[in-house]
């Protein structure tokens, strides 16, 4: 709960001091389909904002419009209050990290880092100190004389990061910068980038399709699908209070039960499940009475056994997977046998058996009635 409120606060005050603004931005490559549809997004100064979404949802396009490599078909993009639609990329002063790092292969690491400083015509001495500092920052002091090809993937990643930061831009864009790394290194680099962001206070716009990466690193996450921001919120809000079925599905694991709205009582709704009884749920995005809806319940919020309480349904255990800290229990609930429950591995829980029927339930507010997409 605490994390949630913090996320909400940040959303409020960061957006007020908008550093980057997308206003009604549209983008089409071919004149037939819109790749980005009516994008409105404010990014606060010093914020770490992640664009998260499946491949092809328009994240890179948004980033490229911000960097100036693509022009918006319609709408305004403002940086620090100034419209930048007509400013060429090299005058925007935005640092970028690319997925393939784009380190110049014919230059040494130090020359790569010196490049943005040289084009800014800094003095030799200044360049040297700044390059040294940047190398220090990513703990690569000893590698200045090497060529990019002589570095491992993780090291190249660090150099790319240092190069995007060395000229002290106020805004850094990263397009799936960790996509080429293996899992362990990726997790390590996530923390490193996060700490760098905290230390330097730059604004970061980060693109990824990996939801756990987004949750780990971001102040706020904009979930993209099909060229539209589905939800913009802090990680905790996004996970715990998804506003539509896409977000609920895309972020974390989710149980869905299909039904129809039968009645709405204040902030709650009574839903008739397609293959089962009526349940009560939080009416988030479910439309009026009679409309189809999708109920979303996180697996770890499902309560098994006698404590299941008032909304109790019956569930039959189909499969049990032992995962150490918890047991993953697949059940058949209301005709759907993909219902997952994460049972904590502690003494309080009775040992389940495959085929066993048990009552299941949840706190009403944990069950969210969303659009039936």
């Amino acid at each position: 709960m605490r994390a949630t409120s913090q996320g909400m606060d940040m959303t409020a005050d960061k957006a007020a001091d908008a550093f980057v603004e997308f206003e009604r931005v549209q983008k089409s490559y071919d004149g037939e389909t819109l790749v980005v549809k009516d994008l409105n997004l404010n990014i606060g100064r010093g914020e770490f904002l992640t664009m998260l979404g499946p491949s092809g949802s328009g994240k890179t396009t948004c980033l490229m419009m911000l960097a100036g490599f693509e022009t918006a078909t319609h709408g305004d993009i403002r940086l620090d209050g100034k419209a930048i639609n007509n400013i060429p990329p090299h005058k925007r002063g935005i640092g970028m990290v690319f997925q393939n790092y784009a380190l110049f292969p014919h230059m040494t690491v130090a020359e790569n880092l010196a490049f943005p400083l040289e084009v800014r015509k800094l003095s030799k001495a200044d360049i040297e100190t700044k390059v040294g500092r940047a190398l220090d920052m990513v703990q690569m002091k000893a590698f200045g004389g090497r060529r990019p090809a002589q570095l491992s993937g993780g090291q190249q990643q660090r150099i790319a990061l240092a190069r995007a930061l060395v000229f002290e831009p106020e805004l850094v864009l990263m397009d799936e910068p960790l996509g080429a790394l293996d899992k362990q290194l990726r997790e390590h680099m996530q923390y490193e980038i996060k700490h760098l962001h905290e230390r330097l206070g730059v604004t970061v716009v980060y693109v990824t399709h990996d939801q756990s990466e987004a949750l780990t690193m971001s102040d706020r996450i904009a979930v993209f699908n099909d060229g539209v921001i589905q939800q913009l919120a802090g990680p905790a809000t996004l996970y715990e209070k998804p506003e539509n079925a896409f977000v609920a599905q895309f972020i974390g694991e989710n149980n869905k039960l299909r039904g129809r709205v039968e009645n709405i009582e204040g902030s709650h709704a009574v839903i008739a499940l397609d293959n089962g009884p009526k349940v009560k749920a939080l009416a988030v995005n479910c439309g009026g009475i009679g409309k189809p809806t999708l109920l979303s319940i996180r697996p770890e919020r499902v309560i098994l056994g006698p404590e299941a309480g008032e909304t109790a349904l019956k569930g039959r255990v189909v499969e049990l997977i032992y995962l150490g800290d918890h047991i993953r229990c697949r059940m058949e609930v209301a005709g759907d046998d993909e219902f997952i429950v994460k049972v904590p591995n502690n003494h309080a829980h009775a040992v389940l058996q495959v085929g066993e029927e048990t009552p299941i339930g949840w706190v009403v507010d944990d069950c969210r009635a969303l659009d039936a997409a």
């Binding site: 990329p89 090299h90 002063g93 970028m96 690319f98 393939n100 784009a102 014919h106 943005p116």
Partner: protein
């Protein structure tokens, strides 16, 4: 198990499962696969050896070894070789010569011998053949008899020339290829100034090759870039256009160039029609205001026409007209006032001589049958050899490099020059080396459109192979050319590094 393995490595060589040492076993296995590989390439190796390596070696040797004389003149050859070239010609030498002349006349080899000696000393052919006819009836003293037959036999330098011809192994041809003269007494001197043609020809060959290479680069680089950037379908279309020269007969292409570039050709017509020729002339005049070359560029090759054009020019432009044509005319007029008609004529001739390479007659440029024509046609033909390696390299440079550079504040130009261009250097190197080496030995195009000053070294080699039949000199010229090519290859390796080359 692990223990036994470590022990064996310490004490004895590792053994394979059947007990033979592992190293031997591996060598056997490798030998078999190597033999198989050799067997596969053997036909190609034999082919290359037979049609490439052996002829080249043979040809290079021919540049140093010419036994035509020594093989056919057995009596005089050893005596001439023993002669120091300084002391007077002896009766013994003359007697041997007469014997040989009789011998070669009888077996009808005298013509070849005479040709060989003629290469060293022109006039030797008739001297040999006529003397050989009379040799049967010659009586001692033979030296006087020879001088009676042809008084050239009395000259010592003639005998020295014969001595050179009698030496089978000789540096004379390679020296001649470099404009040096090798005399019978072993001295090496520079060729007479007016006969030094080879070095100048090598220089011109390299100059043309260099210009062609640079033109190919300048024209090819943007095309290659376009090929790499365009969407696949358009790129393929463009690629076909690029490769078109490969698919057209060289004669058709060259004829097309002749039609385009000749005096009454398309390009000249177009320039006259648009007035571009005047612009070009004015500009060139601006740059070379006081140089004969440009001042006279309009007066053309035909001196009479130049003299005749003066009234027309005055009529056209008025009394003090601004154009090149009339400047030229004014000069001739001034010369006429000073030196009469002969003065005007000689001045016009001088102007015309220096104007030949620029244009003739009525303000048209000669762009074919000269160096310019060779350069244009060769650039066209060799362009794909520059574009293809460039394209294949550019294709591998991801666009994100340019974007990265620009995001860091580089302008388009800086991004191109500091980031994109350096990464295309392997392609530039490969293309330039390819074009240059192909150009330096190019034959057919200069032969067809080269005229006088567009000839290259290979045309001379051809001349000596087919016309003068001086194969040894041809071989020596070819040898020098080969050495130059190898030198450039070495230079390239030193500067760019041959392993940096990307051909495709």
């Amino acid at each position: 198990m692990a223990e036994t393995t470590t022990e064996t490595t310490k004490n004895a060589p590792l053994l394979a499962a059947d007990g033979t040492p592992l190293r031997r076993k591996l060598e056997q296995a490798l030998f078999v696969s190597r033999m198989r590989a050799l067997g596969l390439v053997a036909p190609l190796l034999a082919f290359i050896l037979a049609v490439f390596i052996i002829p080249i070696v043979y040809f290079m040797i021919q540049g140093m070894h010419n036994p035509v004389y020594a093989d056919r003149m057995p009596n005089s050859t050893p005596i001439l070789q023993a002669w120091d070239g300084q002391s007077p010609v002896t009766e013994e030498m003359a007697e041997a010569m007469v014997k040989d002349l009789i011998l070669t006349r009888d077996n009808r080899e005298i013509g070849r011998v005479a040709t060989r000696v003629n290469q060293e000393f022109s006039g030797a052919r008739s001297m040999f053949t006529s003397s050989a006819r009379k040799a049967e009836r010659m009586e001692p003293p033979f030296l006087e008899a020879l001088v009676d037959a042809d008084k050239d036999w009395g000259k010592q330098e003639v005998w020295r020339a014969i001595k050179v011809a009698a030496t089978s192994w000789t540096p004379a041809y390679y020296l001649a290829a470099l404009d040096f003269q090798y005399a019978g007494d072993g001295s090496i001197t520079r060729q007479d100034a007016e006969r030094r043609i080879h070095v100048a020809l090598f220089v011109r060959t390299m100059e043309i090759s260099l210009i062609v290479t640079i033109s190919c680069f300048v024209l090819g680089y943007p095309v290659a870039w376009l090929l790499a950037e365009l969407p696949v379908r358009k790129a393929n279309l463009l690629m076909i256009l690029v490769l078109l020269p490969f698919w057209t007969s060289i004669l058709v292409r060259t004829t097309a160039w002749i039609a385009m570039l000749q005096g009454q050709g398309v390009m000249n017509d177009l320039m006259v029609f648009t007035g571009l020729n005047q612009v070009i002339l004015q500009i060139s005049m601006l740059f070379n205001d006081y140089k004969d070359l440009t001042v006279s560029s309009l007066c053309g090759i035909d001196v009479n026409a130049a003299l005749g054009s003066i009234p027309a020019a005055v009529e056209k432009f008025g009394a003090s007209p601004p154009g090149t044509l009339t400047r030229c005319g004014a000069e001739i007029l001034a010369a006429f006032e000073q030196g009469g008609e002969s003065g005007a004529r000689s001045h016009a001739e001088a102007l015309a001589a220096s104007a030949q390479r620029w244009g003739y007659g009525d303000e048209r440029f000669s762009m074919i049958y000269n160096k310019l024509g060779t350069i244009i046609a060769m650039t066209h033909i060799l362009l794909p050899f520059m574009i293809l390696p460039l394209y294949s390299v550019m294709k591998t440079v991801p666009p994100s490099y340019l974007r990265a550079a620009k995001s860091m504040g580089a302008t388009n130009w800086t991004a191109f020059w500091r980031v994109y261009f350096p990464q295309t250097i392997p392609g530039i190197g490969a293309g330039a080396l390819l074009v240059f080496i192909l150009a330096i030995g190019y034959y057919i195009t200069p032969a067809l459109v080269g005229g006088q000053d567009g000839q290259m070294i290979s045309n001379f080699i051809d001349f000596h192979m087919r016309r003068s039949l001086n194969w040894s000199l041809a071989a020596a010229l070819g040898g020098v050319l080969l050495i130059i090519v190898l030198f450039f290859y070495w230079l390239y390796d030193r500067i760019v590094g041959i392993d940096n080359m990307k051909l495709g």
